[in-house]
Amino acid sequence: MKITRHEVERVAVLARLALTDKELDAMTGQMNQLLDYVDTLNRLDTDGIVPTAHAVPVENAFRDDVVRPSIGSERALMNAPAAADNYFRVPKIIE
């Protein structure tokens, strides 16, 4: 076992996922399978290879510091579940 049911539960909490007991069991099994596969990859000799964060050989994509039009508050709030006075409205997050 690479990962315990308890650890899967914790990761689910961090990702705000509500999993049923059955789902937790299934996820624990699947995640262990994934991690077993990483073991297979780990058998490769990667000495002297720089860790790769990106598969595409591109670097330094920049934009200049020039203002572009924003979309405006009306469009920004268009899909918001709740809004008031041009603000997104959410349940109160401090007591």
Partner: protein, 488 residues
């Protein structure tokens, strides 16, 4: 009691940059506009939007790194810091984790006894700011919080120090130095109250002589140098009392309330953070070569330390005067504009730190808004230097100038303030003063030479300040030394 313990302080400073646009999109960073009006798919975190790095942010970070003696990383990466909060629309903050742009720097601060102490800088990294939250306080809004994402994606530099500071004074000295540097560089406006320069302090104590660090508390939400000092002092006392009572310091985040001078623990932080950082696939690696770094190095503005040396060595100013003038970039610029027009640096410095500062303070103005420009001030100094007016009259001219905005020469002409250098005219007044004060004359001649001030004062008074004080002094001494014909 607290003398038994040594305090250890490390600081994290969030420096909000002065770029025109956000770090990953072209939305404006202007402050104070309609909520959510400066947003776009990128800073709203809408699916499919692609962040693109603002080049100016990188250059500002390199500048700051160079000015704080950091190594600039030839290759650095952006990472996602994952957590949920309503002011963070994507569910992650784009930051730097494993490979920040700057590392291993330092700043020298002045500590007790005028000695220098080197404070290490662990790293400086670039990241985006979160949005702003308002919490409802009216009956109809009390169950809600309100989110404004105008600030989301505003570029920040996070400057992390080593735990090298051993007192709240050292912490403040370091912060002021860093504050001064980012303002001189022009990468930050330095406004603490508006949150452009935010400080978190990690504070722990340990019995003197102990090597291992104690458990630290993180103090957040402090927006003035004075409050930072207060918060640190409060924290030292709190931890010392805890340990004395046989208790233990727990690692926690505490909020300092400047109204009560007390900090309180932030709830809900028991669940240790697990940000699950990983490289952001949307942002390609940042590669910085020597050519780029050197180009930026040659364009770095002169920093306070170098100005200080120049002011004391080239201009011959006193250490104190030099440090007052460099404390604010705008003041230093004003001073240099004066010196460029008038080569008596000392009198420029005296006037800026004296009359001008006093007037600015009285009116709650900064030097950038001074109605008296460097050219105008120098206009007065030149007339003092060529003996057209005396130092006292110069102050009068300055007052009029402050009110009316007129040039010195016009004020002197219109108000007839020209100094009397006609020795005949001065002699007349001197004689009159001597004749009118026989007692003092006798005392003076009997050895009370301090009375010279009295006589010169009288002459100046009668000439309405216009007599040349040097000439009055000389003439008066001469006349007092020898009894005049006809005098008793």
């Amino acid at each position: 009691m607290r003398d038994k313990y040594e305090v250890v302080i490390g600081l994290e400073v969030h420096v909000q940059m002065t770029t025109r646009t956000k770090i990953f999109c072209g939305c404006s960073t202007t402050f104070g506009n309609e909520p959510n009006s400066q947003t776009c798919p990128v800073c709203l975190g809408l699916p499919g939007a692609l962040p693109v790095l603002n080049k100016q942010v990188v250059e500002n970070a390199i500048m700051t790194g160079l000015a704080t003696n950091c190594k600039i990383a030839p290759r650095s990466l952006f990472a996602r810091k994952n957590y949920f909060y309503p002011d963070l629309p994507k569910g992650y903050q784009i930051s730097q984790f494993e490979l920040p742009i700057c590392e291993q720097g330092w700043l020298d601060i002045e500590v007790e006894g005028g000695k220098q102490k080197r404070i290490g800088i662990t790293r400086i990294h670039m990241e985006e700011d979160a949005g702003k939250l308002l919490h409802g306080d009216t009956p109809e809004s009390s169950g809600n919080s309100f989110v404004d994402l105008n600030r989301a994606c505003t570029p920040l530099l996070e400057v992390v120090s080593e735990p090298d500071m051993r007192s709240s004074d050292e912490a403040i000295a370091y912060l002021k130095k860093l504050h001064q540097i980012v303002i001189y560089l022009g990468v930050c406006d330095g406004n603490l109250e508006e949150g452009s320069f935010r400080c978190d302090a990690n504070v722990s104590i340990r019995p003197r002589g102990q090597k291992e660090l104690g458990t630290r508390a993180e103090l957040k939400n402090i927006n003035s140098f004075r409050f930072i000092k207060q918060a640190i002092e409060y924290e030292i006392d709190r931890q010392a009392e805890l340990l004395e009572d046989g208790g233990k310091v727990i690692q926690e985040t505490r909020l300092f309330d400047s109204n009560t001078g007390v900090s309180r623990s932030m709830r809900g932080k028991e669940e240790a953070h697990d940000y699950r950082y990983f490289p952001d696939p949307d942002l390609v690696p940042l590669v910085i070569d020597e050519t780029w770094i050197e180009a930026i190095r040659t364009e770095l503005p002169e920093l306070p330390e170098s100005k200080y040396r120049r002011y004391t060595e080239t201009f011959g100013l006193q250490a104190y005067d030099a440090s007052v003038l460099i404390a604010e970039k705008a003041v230093a610029e004003y001073f240099e504009a004066c010196v460029a027009l008038f080569d008596d640096a000392k009198s420029c410095a005296n006037w800026i730190m004296g009359e001008l500062s006093r007037r600015l303070n009285d009116n709650g103005l900064t030097i950038a808004h001074s109605p008296v420009t460097p050219e105008m001030l120098v206009g007065i100094l030149q007339r003092v230097a060529d003996n057209t007016i005396s130092g006292n009259i110069a102050k009068k001219v300055f007052e009029t100038m402050w009110q009316s905005g007129q040039e010195a020469d016009i004020i002197i002409e219109e108000q007839g303030l020209k100094q009397v250098t006609d020795s005949g005219a001065i002699e007349k007044i001197v004689d009159a003063v001597i004749a009118a004060n026989p007692e003092q004359v006798a005392d003076y001649r009997a050895g009370k030479e301090k009375l010279i001030g009295f006589f010169v004062g009288k002459v100046m008074q009668q000439s309405k300040g216009k007599a040349n004080p040097g000439m009055v002094n000389e003439l008066m001494k001469k006349k007092l030394a020898f009894p005049l014909y006809g005098e008793k």
